[in-house]
């Protein structure tokens, strides 16, 4: 293999067939148009093609393949949510993630690390116990552990009580994992396109055609496209795209910032989250400490980074991991998060016939990529809301049937 690599490195010709079969021309009619070529949109296209035999699909994106929040998340996958509806949904996602490298024939570098949600207060212990019991009831591996067990399992963590907020215990979720986010999107794109799905980057949707309460197609920067069914999967721009269809959403766009340190040798095996300290961290396969915290304090359609965020993050991070004082920040970025009132997504049917929505993914979108694609595909193919997605209908806000996940979906409570 090294010799083959060397040979290709020295040759000037194309060394590898392209993974993605780009189709340059836009047709005038498709069965399904998916707005947004991120992980969710591509997964939806893939499952429509493989599970439902629908391949006359165009996936459109204003930017490029997986260049939005698919590229901006911190890659954590877990199922230790708070509500039975949420736990069942994310549990299926974890199961799909485990087989995804094989299914998509691409190494998504799925790495189960164990996920700790630290508790520093009695209230946090109560929430951790609540989540552990709901998780166990739903068949998800989670348990409440005490400080001594935290210290045994994660020795690099500062479990001393000589700190401002001593660790009292943790919700321990062994299946918690990280994955290579780009590969997930590329894998879905590759396999969908191999089955005839078209992906069109640099194609902005400028209008949505609705006649008599039913969607007819979309207007794009490259002309009008007719489609039987249209799906929007545009995290960060959900309200703006929905407005083109005349829909208003329970969503506020708020930036979520993150950063990574320079790479170092493996020292932190686990994923560590602290709701009370508003921080989370894991070490990537290439050694960078991947860190994030709470969403910004006010709504914004912008992905700038701020010093305030990093100062707040590091103040708490150094208490948990004093060795981090020697590390420098290598990269910083932000994504625009679709925050919903109940910290749960908005998926499925809308008041417009054949117009489907995949939105409200706040800070919990990457981990749902496979299950969302699978279930949205089912929803689109059958025209009915799948059982698993019923709790997440847009309509739930009209009937006060909220799915309160704030205690498990964010680190800002």
């Amino acid at each position: 293999m090294p010799l083959a690599l060397l040979k290709h490195g020295l040759s000037s010709g194309r060394v590898e067939p392209p993974h993605l079969r780009w189709q340059p021309d836009l047709k005038r009619t498709y069965d399904v148009v998916i707005i947004g070529a991120g992980g969710h949109g591509l997964a939806t296209a893939y499952y429509l093609a493989t599970r439902h035999g629908i391949t006359n699909i165009a996936v459109l994106d204003r930017g490029w393949l997986a260049g939005g929040n698919t590229a901006r998340n911190t890659t954590i996958v877990r199922a230790n949510y708070l509500t039975p509806e949420g736990v069942a949904f994310y549990k299926e996602s974890v199961e799909l993630f485990r087989g995804l490298s094989t299914e998509l024939d691409i190494n998504i570098m799925y790495s189960e690390r164990g996920h700790f949600t630290l508790a520093h207060t009695d209230a946090a212990i109560r929430t951790a116990r609540w989540r552990a019991e709901v998780n166990k009831h739903m068949g998800v591996d989670s348990e409440l552990i005490d400080a001594a067990e935290v210290a045994r399992l994660c020795p690099v963590l500062n479990t001393s009580d000589e700190v401002h907020y001593p660790i009292l215990g943790a919700l321990y979720h062994p299946p918690g994992a990280i994955a290579r986010h780009d590969a997930v999107a590329w894998g879905y794109a590759k396999e969908a396109m191999a089955r005839g799905v078209e992906v069109h980057p640099a194609t902005e949707v400028t209008g949505i055609l609705v006649e008599g309460g039913r969607v007819r197609g979309v207007e794009t920067s490259r002309g009008t496209i007719h489609a039987d069914k249209v799906v929007q999967a545009v995290a960060g721009s959900s309200s703006r795209v929905a407005k083109l269809a005349g829909l208003r959403l329970p969503i506020k766009s708020i930036p979520l910032q993150a950063c990574v340190s320079e790479p170092v040798k493996p020292i932190l095996d686990q994923i560590v989250v602290s709701g009370s300290l508003h921080v989370y961290i894991s070490q990537s396969a290439r050694g960078e400490m991947v860190m994030g915290g709470v969403t910004d304090p006010y709504g914004l359609y912008q992905t700038r980074s701020t010093l305030d965020f990093k100062e707040g993050l590091m103040a708490h991070m150094l208490e948990l991991f004093p060795f981090m004082a020697d590390l420098r920040v290598l990269r910083q970025w932000a994504g625009t998060a679709d925050m919903t009132p109940d910290f749960s997504p908005v998926m499925g049917l809308t008041p417009i016939d054949n117009y489907f929505i995949d939105s409200g993914w706040g800070t919990w979108g990457f981990k749902a990529t496979p299950v969302c694609g699978l279930r949205m595909a089912e929803c689109i193919a059958t025209g009915r809301q799948p059982e698993m997605l019923k709790p997440f209908l847009l309509d739930r806000f009209r009937t006060f049937d909220l799915v309160g996940e704030k205690g498990a979906a964010s680190v800002g409570h």
């Binding site: 703006r240 959403l249 506020k252 766009s253 709504g299 010093l307 009132p341």
Partner: protein
């Protein structure tokens, strides 16, 4: 640190403030439909551009109105609640007056 000008306390660090959401009319709970009420509670205009919002200066517990641009992250103006609604009222009167004249 980003600076916001509190109408009562002058320029202060943005960390001293909390955003209270868009300025919007409260429907009459006794007269409106359930849909109007849930829309008021949960639905957001989520405008990309200029917005008028309620803000609170937490140390002094002062509520006021700020106009921001959500695309550029600029604070365009801050004003007392009285000034904001007075200017809204005179603008509405001007429109009504102009309509009457036409």
């Amino acid at each position: 640190m980003k600076i916001m000008v509190c109408p009562l306390n002058g320029p202060r660090n943005i960390t001293e403030f909390v955003c209270g959401g868009d300025v919007k009319a409260v429907p009459d709970p006794a007269a409106c439909s359930d849909a109007e009420w849930t829309d008021y509670l949960f639905i957001e205009d989520n405008i990309a551009g200029e917005v008028d919002e309620w803000w609170l200066h937490t140390p002094s517990n002062t509520w006021f109105i700020a106009r921001r641009n959500t695309l550029t992250d600029e604070i365009l103006a801050t004003m007392t609640v009285a000034d904001y609604f007075d200017s809204k009222r005179s603008a509405a009167d001007a429109v009504a007056g102009a309509g009457g004249a036409a």
